[in-house]
């Protein structure tokens, strides 16, 4: 892009020297944090499955970045996306590499403050900051970004990032189950298909799209297998599973599927031998709320699983983890039109993102949670919200009412992209876990 010469509309000019200094310090911290997190995760489970080794390596961005750069030199395009609504199948069908570019760096959020006020969602601020100093490898390699206009933050984030790179916006209808919404979204998907084709120069044909859909379906199968394994006694630590889910956002999908299946094989072996990751009577916790992005924003899962008393994460409802792959693309007939319909419906209608409302009372998220609680035997729910995410915060009362009826304790935890409140959060989380274990003892 020749955006270097164009005057930036939003972001301030930073000297190359400052950019480099900032990037180097943040990258160094980030590498340290990645190593630290993984070290902690290794320690938490003494006989951690060997298959997780691969995901530990993938968690370190360096190797995957190198791989993508090699692919890029061969002429493959990279398309970044910021919300789950971007049609990954279309990107794959055009032979491009999909990567999710949401940023989890705490320090980058402070840079974002120079552009947008602190009240804004920290993930948005962090993504802006990461772009300003070229911190995120995936943001840097992306030839284009798909910005789906979900919440207000995401809407403006795409606009701000267009200072640097090409951004394609997709209008997302807010009522998700009406006929006219479906039509609008279908048209958006079709238009996106055209844009992807234009960028990559590859025509998306029936065969390519079919194999792309089958590829993600296989990934969904592996993903679901992993989640099913978490239903019984904890065979894998929640953080490990979350990391596996999250690496899907930037990994080669075919390889990810293979490795996840291999992990599941090992976990099944463990179930047979009754080797548990932690004592089976550990309180079973679910997180719901705003996304948590590797590497920095890992504090809550760490606190839950390393608290005294410890809990174990067995499920979550985060768009950075379990919601990525929960719903498959269900194709009736393998014709182009039906495949596109299937893709558009899968992204629009099945989503439980709170940015939607619906004609029929919007029960989807509640049903999702209730189903998870029942099937996965959840004993407590932590409702995690970034300060600034109004949509998740506003849905809390509704969720709480339903969970109260089920007699499932739910705890509202709001936080920032900062390490400073870890101590305070620790007290809050541990009190909650204490209460859960007391309930279990009773």
């Amino acid at each position: 892009m020749n955006s270097q010469n164009v005057e930036k509309k939003y972001t301030p000019e930073i000297s190359q020297k400052e950019i480099e200094e900032l990037r180097n310090t943040i990258q160094a911290t980030s590498q340290k944090i990645i190593a630290e997190n993984i070290e902690k995760m290794k320690k938490a489970d003494p006989n951690r499955p060997k298959a997780l080794q691969y995901f530990d390596e993938m968690a370190n961005f360096v190797s995957r970045e190198k791989e993508i750069r090699v692919e890029k030199e061969k002429g493959r395009k990279v398309i970044g996306y910021m919300c789950l609504f971007a049609p990954t199948e279309l990107i794959l069908a055009a032979g491009a590499i999909p990567v999710r570019v949401n940023s989890g760096w705490y320090d980058a959020a402070k840079l974002g403050d120079r552009v947008v006020p602190v009240e804004v969602c920290p993930m948005v601020r962090s993504t802006i900051g990461a772009k300003m100093i070229a911190l995120s490898p995936y943001l840097e390699v992306s030839d284009a970004l798909i910005s789906v206009l979900t919440c207000d933050g995401m809407t403006k984030l795409g606009e701000i990032l267009s200072d640097y790179t090409q951004v394609w916006s997709m209008t997302l209808p807010r009522v998700k189950d009406s006929e006219q919404s479906a039509r609008l979204w279908r048209e958006e998907i079709k238009a996106m298909k055209g844009q992807i084709e234009a960028l990559t120069g590859n025509k998306i044909g029936r065969k390519q799209l079919k194999s792309a859909i089958e590829l993600t379906q296989k990934a969904t199968r592996a993903f679901r297998r992993l989640q099913e394994l978490r239903k019984a006694s904890p065979v894998i630590m929640g953080r490990d599973a979350m990391l596996v889910n999250q690496t899907y956002m930037w990994d080669n999908i075919e390889r990810w599927t293979e490795k996840t299946e291999a992990l599941c094989d090992q976990l099944e072996e463990r179930v047979r031998k009754k080797i548990w990751a932690c004592p089976p009577d550990t309180p079973r916790v679910m997180i719901t709320g705003t996304p948590m992005i590797w590497p920095d924003n890992w504090k809550l899962p760490t606190l839950i699983e390393e608290g005294t008393p410890p809990g174990v994460l067995v499920a979550d409802e985060l768009c950075s983890s379990e919601r990525i792959l929960y719903d498959p693309v269900g194709v009736d007939e393998w014709s182009m039109s039906d495949m596109l319909n299937a893709i558009s419906e899968r992204y629009l209608m099945a989503s439980t993102c709170p940015c939607f409302t619906s004609k029929d009372g919007n029960e989807d998220r509640i049903n999702w949670l209730v189903n998870k609680i029942k099937e996965w035997n959840i004993q407590g729910v932590i409702y995690y919200v970034h300060r600034g995410c109004i949509l998740y915060a506003m849905e809390y009362t509704r969720v709480k009412k339903v969970l109260d009826r089920l007699a499932i304790p739910v705890y509202y935890l709001d936080t920032e992209y900062t390490r400073e409140d870890v101590g305070q959060m620790k007290t809050r989380v541990e009190a909650f876990l204490e209460m859960l274990s007391a309930r279990i003892d009773l």
Binding site: K176, Y326, G330, M349, A350, E363, W368
Partner: protein, 330 residues
Amino acid sequence: MVMELLGEVLKLTVLTGLTLAGILVILIWKKGLATKVTYFRFVIQAVAMVAVFYLFTYPVWQLIVLIVILVMPLVLGRFFCGWLCPFGFYMDAITLLRKVLKIRYRNLPDRLNIFLHNFRYVLLLIFLGAPFILAWLDPPPSLDFATLMALVFAGPFEPLRVLLGPVIPLIVPWVGPLEIGGLYFSYPYVQEVILYSNMAFSEIFVTIAALIFVALTIVGSFFVRRVWCRFCPTGSSLAVVNRFRGFKWAPALHIDKDEEKCTKCGICKRVCPVQVTEVYEQKGGKIDTSMCMLCTRCVEMCPYEGCLKVNIGGKTVFKSRNWLEPSTVE
């Protein structure tokens, strides 16, 4: 002569097909391979068609088939439409052909679909009343009351046989209205209306009805899935039981939905060949619509374990499963 021989060969082929299909059904059932319900259903439809073909050789069986069709909905709802009806089989076969030809299907607008669904009762009335109207417009020379009654209840036209319309195979073993080289063809609903032959007006009516029907089913099936089922008058007789409040309990076979497992992904709505929206829209519990013909395509395609279930009298016979996984239990 050659054609007659061909007819015999055809009959034999069909019989062999019946046997093979029967063996296939048993195999599929035994090995628990009935995961792809669509194919399973297709085989059953073929078997049913052939069975009906042979049954129709003997008039007494027609009566038995009729009784079965009328009584079955009390227990099985419109199971007949989805799984046994020969005409449904033709349309499904055309759907297969359509998929091979890569023609995409069109959806009817929902409101038109519902209108047609209600229109089927009008259509039924037309078919029931047509002979009388024809007789009135163009009376046969010796029509007195006694003859008319005789014709109505015992003659070539028996009102209730109209309901058997779509069950009559396209190629009929007896003498049909259309003969091409020794084989007799018939169109559902047409056979019944040929009442007072040698009358120009009846002939025209029959021809028009036949043309409309053939155009709708054979040509229309290339563009709209299960096009005739949307306003088939026979379906009305099956569906009518489900319509009355007092009979909501009646069909023991029905689809059940678990609200909590549903994510409203819309797959059930999209895959339904007759565009039933209730499975998607209803909040949960027993799916309550007379449009559904229980082909269970939605149950097959629903990707959430146990979200949709087919129940017979409280017992689950088939439920939706994570179809991404190879199924281990059926």
